[in-house]
Subunit: 218 residues, 2 copies
DNA sequence: TTCAATTTTTAAATGAATCTAAAATTATTA
DNA sequence: TAATAATTTTAGATTCATTTAAAAATTGAA
């Protein structure tokens, strides 16, 4: 059984790996966790001993098969709770993260099984991220950052890459939501920003950064 | 902000006080918590420093006003989660305790406010115990242990005093549930057991111990 | 390709929460 | 009421997650 800290570090390593990073570094991990390199280094040793990560001194870490499975179970719980908070308790999609960070550590397989049933087996969390099944499997359609698609491309807003940093409040404010139909009208060479139309109605200009953080699928 | 341990010890002191015990002793507390007297003694000092209990060396502890308020908030959360588990997630009333022990420590006032709304402001948990309101107020009708009422008394089963030790499974097995109508037919002098009739139908014999653990109201 | 900068690890401390063992206090009973 | 028993506290260790500071390893740049 993993401790709270072990679960959080393991999840962080998994998320950082998913973001392309291979061999997650001690410093990056520490930064992500809001701790110091020494703490991260200790934890890497511990997780390595439990064979949840592949790690060698000075070489960075990658989740092992069993570590990945464990991380995905925590993520599954996190995302199911987020669905619960939004759909049943009327939380806004930008209010759920911290509470779900706590709820994801509750230990009870029956609870998660029943919660999943109660929510009618959702496949996506409120930010559009896929919910792994009880075996850690994720199935989803290919998704592309808006910024990588050319003018003329039309698709649905299916997720945001990183929901942090008040990005969701910003989307709320400008009227972008999950499931919105979005057409790319133009790409501004000057700054990489995009002109888009939402639901065939409203024209918006999105910065390069915003475009990189909004995921579309056809 | 209290730590997990502090919350659990405080709750235990409150519960023991409620059970008549005044000046909760170090040993009793340790036993209740599954720890050793030395640990309980340390914690008493800490809670006393935070003025959540009144405590003097060798004199036992009682919750202070602010400690009581805090304990009741934890109990409120525990019981609301129990209602959720039974009413929404179809848990049996004997399966909820351990999960609620974890859920009660989630820190989010908004979560509890919304959960309370979602459950339609329940007044009792699945074992019939009253749910304190957001100010820590408890309102309920007087309740009596079955064993203290004489033959002839009729009332409703409204709660169990201590849901531990497989008592709930036992009640399920013999057909006693919350809200059942119960009439005391006879008291057996020999062993203090009671002959009762449930819902004007089924006759049962309950041990002295069972009778002390079942609470009735008129 | 060597040496300086950066990153990572190790070592030594700290604060919780726990334990065992011993000392102090209170309670009991002969 | 004085000795013994029981309870409670203190003292000293242990484990976990963290820190700071110093040492070791890696990287990269002149």
């Amino acid at each position: 059984m993993l401790s709270l800290s072990e679960e959080n570090y393991l999840k962080a390593i998994y998320h950082l790996s998913e973001q392309g990073k291979t061999n997650v570094s001690t410093n990056l991990l520490a930064e992500h966790m809001g701790t110091k390199a020494a703490s991260a280094s200790d934890m890497l040793k511990k997780l390595s001993q439990k064979e949840l990560i592949d790690y060698g001194r000075y070489q960075g870490a990658n989740v092992s098969e069993s570590g990945k499975k464990m991380a995905l179970q925590i993520i599954r719980k996190h995302r199911l709770w987020e669905v619960f908070l939004v759909e049943k308790l009327k939380f806004n999609w930008n209010e759920v993260h911290e509470v779900a960070e706590q709820l994801e550590h509750i230990k009870s397989p029956l609870l998660i099984k029943r919660l999943d049933e109660f929510l009618n087996f959702p496949k996506k969390d409120p930010h559009g991220s896929p919910i792994p099944d009880e075996h850690g499997e994720i199935k989803e359609k290919p998704q592309f950052p808006l910024a990588e698609k050319p003018p003329g491309f039309e698709g649905l807003v299916v997720a945001v890459k990183d929901p942090g940093n008040h990005f969701l409040e910003y989307l709320d404010k400008i009227g972008i939501y999950l499931g919105a139909k979005l057409k790319i009208v133009d790409r501004i060479t000057f700054d990489g920003s995009s002109e888009v139309i939402i639901d065939n109605k409203k024209t918006l200009f999105l910065s390069k950064e915003a475009g990189a953080n909004i995921l579309l699928s056809e």
